[in-house]
């Protein structure tokens, strides 16, 4: 059993309206040093598999079928420490 952290973000060329709104809000508060905010999603899930190649295959397949829309989004994932499961 492994715990997976999957991060999905909009592709860089796709307008991220949430990110833009946050950029403005951050400047309103007075923090000009922050810019280029991109908002994404993070999914945590457990996977009943230990072989990293198999995990890669499953996570990629599910990401392309359901978790992400590869027309507009990119994803990457991490296998978290086993102790956290």
């Amino acid at each position: 059993m492994k715990k997976i952290e999957l991060i999905i973000t909009l592709q860089t060329q796709v307008l991220d309206t949430q990110g833009e709104a946050l950029d403005r809000a951050v400047k309103d508060i007075g923090h000009d040093e922050i810019s280029n905010i991109r908002v994404g999603k993070v999914l945590y899930f457990d996977i009943d598999e230990t072989d990293t190649d198999k995990i890669d295959e499953i996570v990629k397949s599910m990401s392309e079928r359901l978790f992400a829309n590869t027309v507009i989004e990119t994803y990457n994932y991490k296998i978290l420490d086993e102790e956290t499961v």
């Binding site: 309206t17 359901l66 978790f67 027309v71 989004e73």
Partner: protein, 225 residues
């Protein structure tokens, strides 16, 4: 002509779409998203709403629902497939139409009557409209900004796949796109709601002809092919 109105949990324009089909004299039946066949139907209507709560991403979970395969099959069989609003989002998710729908650039939901242009009247859906005819359909969406790559956009233009454009772009869509069709000409996706524009007392009856067109699908689709 018998239409399937596909119902997902969270669909909320299913009844409006059903009523629209019946109003023009077609038959219609609701079909649950867990069904696996649409063979008994001559056309497929995918309603607006918030299928699966729009959770994860609009249309994402509907895109992997059991009925999806049958929708693709119906499209392959040259039956008319019309997706409105969330239905359009689902059609892009399952790859029957190119591109994707993302958040409106103003990042708020927009609901109002919108002036649109029928830029291609040479399809089975739009045949009895004049070329570049202006129509008013209501829009109601938060994620209706049509996005595709430059390459796809050129392709859409070259193949006359852009059917409907906004006269005043409300959501940031590329090329003011409000509705597109597949290359074959039988799968139409659009963000505006023609099914809410069937009576003048409700604000517009411009949507009526679209449903009249698909009611006589064989005839209309054949003549444009």
């Amino acid at each position: 002509m018998k239409f399937a109105v596909v119902r997902f949990p969270g669909s909320n324009c299913d009844r409006d779409l059903y009523n629209a089909a019946v109003k023009v004299g077609a038959k219609a039946e609701y079909v649950d998203y867990r069904e696996t066949s649409l063979d008994d139907f001559d056309g497929v209507l995918i309603p607006g709403g918030f299928s699966f709560g729009d959770y994860l991403r609009t249309g994402a979970m509907a895109g992997v629902a059991p009925i999806t395969k049958s929708i693709k099959k119906a499209a392959d069989e040259d039956k008319p497939v019309l997706g409105i609003c969330n239905g359009f989002q689902i059609l892009t998710e399952i790859g029957l139409l190119p591109g994707a729908l993302i958040h409106n650039t103003g990042h708020t939901f927009i609901s109002r009557n919108e002036s649109l242009k029928i830029v291609n009247n040479n399809t089975g859906f739009t045949k009895n409209h004049a070329e570049n005819e202006d129509v008013v359909y209501p829009i109601a969406h938060g994620e209706g900004c049509y996005y595709c790559t430059d390459e796809t956009y050129e392709e859409l233009k070259d193949n006359n796949q852009i059917i409907l454009t906004y006269n005043e772009n409300p959501n940031g869509s590329i090329g003011d796109i409000a509705g597109i069709i597949n290359k074959r000409g039988n799968v139409l996706g659009m963000m505006p709601h023609p099914e809410r524009a069937l009576e003048a007392v409700l604000g517009s009856d411009d949507g009526l002809r679209l449903f009249e067109n698909i009611k006589s699908w064989e005839e209309n689709h054949d003549t444009v092919r």
